[in-house]
Amino acid sequence: MPIHRNRIAGPEDTEPIENQECQTAILPNGDRHDNRKLDQIRPIFCRAGAVSQAVGSAYIELANTKIICAVYGPREVANKHEFNIQATLSCELKFATFSCQRRRRHIQDSQEKEYSQIVVQALEPVIRLDKYPKSQIDIFITVLQNDGSVLASAITAASIAIADSGIEMFDVAVGCCLRRIENLSLIDPTYLEEEGHLNNESEDDVVVNANITIALLPSLNQVSALIMNGELDGNPTQKIINDCLEGCMRIYPVVQECLTKRLQEKALRN
């Protein structure tokens, strides 16, 4: 359906209703808006093998953020002109049209294309591509509900799906997101904390305001992706990155348990 370009925009000095007022990042008692502590991660539910027709799949929920991922491959390369001695990894991340506060388009927009590229960059060093010459591994990620930390959870879901599919990997990549506002670090932000206008102690002029996502390989202790949006001061950056890495380490046991449970399920079926 074509976009309606003839909608009346309204008088020039008006603002759309959706623009929220500035809110405080934390409540007066020191907790966040969803009653979490500053360094508390939301409870995670994840399940491998959610999509039966895919070679590997995973479903992850971080409270209200819900993401499903399916992996197909290694299969024949679609582009018949290139010869690659390694497997080609491709990812398509899509927000469902009903997943965000504003309805999203059916076609992938630039943010989704960027996220897809980041997931590929985060997983390319982890998968043993040299074991599957002249083939293609496709990852399809669908975000069913967006309540913040989407990129981090998408990376985690993709790793679980690939491990479930039996494609060899060096390690699982675990993603974690952190929002920094002035001197507050909010781990695993919700949509409000990620996208909303937040201030600290009723000051509207916020200087340090950044969103960081890190993908960590826990066993090898290496970082495969680090994405930062916003402005950060040089001094606390080291501590911020360490806090985010610590968040990843706390998510790792959940990933381990999810895959172990899936192995037991498969063993019982055979």
């Binding site: 070679v55 197909y72 491959g73 290694p74 299969r75 024949e76 390369v77 582009n79 018949k80 002109h81 290139e82 010869f83 043993r128 599957y132 010459p133 002249k134 083939s135 491990a163 479930d164 599919s165 039996g166 494609i167 060899e168 990997m169 060096f170 390690d171 699982v172 390989l217 826990p218 066993s219 090898l220 990933v255 381990q256 895959l259 172990t260 899936r262 192995l263 037991q264 498969k266 063993a267 055979n270």
Partner: protein, 193 residues
């Protein structure tokens, strides 16, 4: 060879030292330690005269690729005087979810008298053949060969539409019309007994 039942491991978990074990399938080595590269069960196999081998038993092997040397089952799609195009549908005994493309070149059909081969008298579209992967080939297809006695046509329909029975290694006969057709037949145990 004795095997010990192991614990469930996920990719990246450390399994042992290189001084005590050797690395088997589903593992990799980094800085003299053996790590898992699959999600599966740890298996320790003791070998005579060598260090015991650690391998990971994956629960399914459905993501196999046609490796050089594997025997595959392929369906002939089209035939031309120089080569025939096939669709690889099974690798060994494992049927594939998604097929791969293959090519059998004229010189790879028989082991003897390679230049005197008439391709249309060896394969016809719709035949099922057993072939061996000889090369990764070009971006469009794998290269296969049927230059062994046990490779070649295992299933073919006659012009009348009935499944043919082999009467020699170059001929198959339709049971209904009793007409013979030329094929490069596989010397499969099913027909010898």
């Amino acid at each position: 060879m004795a095997a010990e039942v192991g614990v469930a491991v996920i990719p990246g978990q450390r399994l042992g030292d290189m001084d005590q074990y050797s690395a088997g399938s589903g593992t990799y080595i980094k800085q003299r330690h053996i790590y898992a590269s699959l999600a599966g069960y740890k298996d320790i196999i003791s070998q005579a005269g060598q260090l015991p081998m650690i391998q990971i038993k994956a629960t399914k092997a459905s993501n196999t690729l046609p490796l050089i040397g594997t025997v595959v089952t392929a369906k002939v799609l089209s035939v031309n005087p120089r080569f025939c195009r096939v669709l690889i549908i099974c690798i060994g005994t494992m049927p594939l979810k998604e097929p791969f493309r293959g090519t059998i070149r004229k010189e790879d059909i028989r082991a003897t008298e390679k230049d005197k081969v008439i391709l249309y008298d060896c394969f016809k579209p719709g035949d099922a053949v057993l072939a061996e992967v000889i090369s990764l080939g070009d971006p469009r297809s794998y290269y296969l060969s049927t230059a062994k006695n046990e490779l070649g046509v295992v299933f073919a329909k006659s012009k009348a539409g009935y499944r043919m029975i082999p009467i020699s290694w170059t001929q198959m006969q339709c049971p209904n019309t009793e007409k013979t057709e030329l094929r490069k037949v596989a010397r499969v145990k099913y027909w010898i007994d």
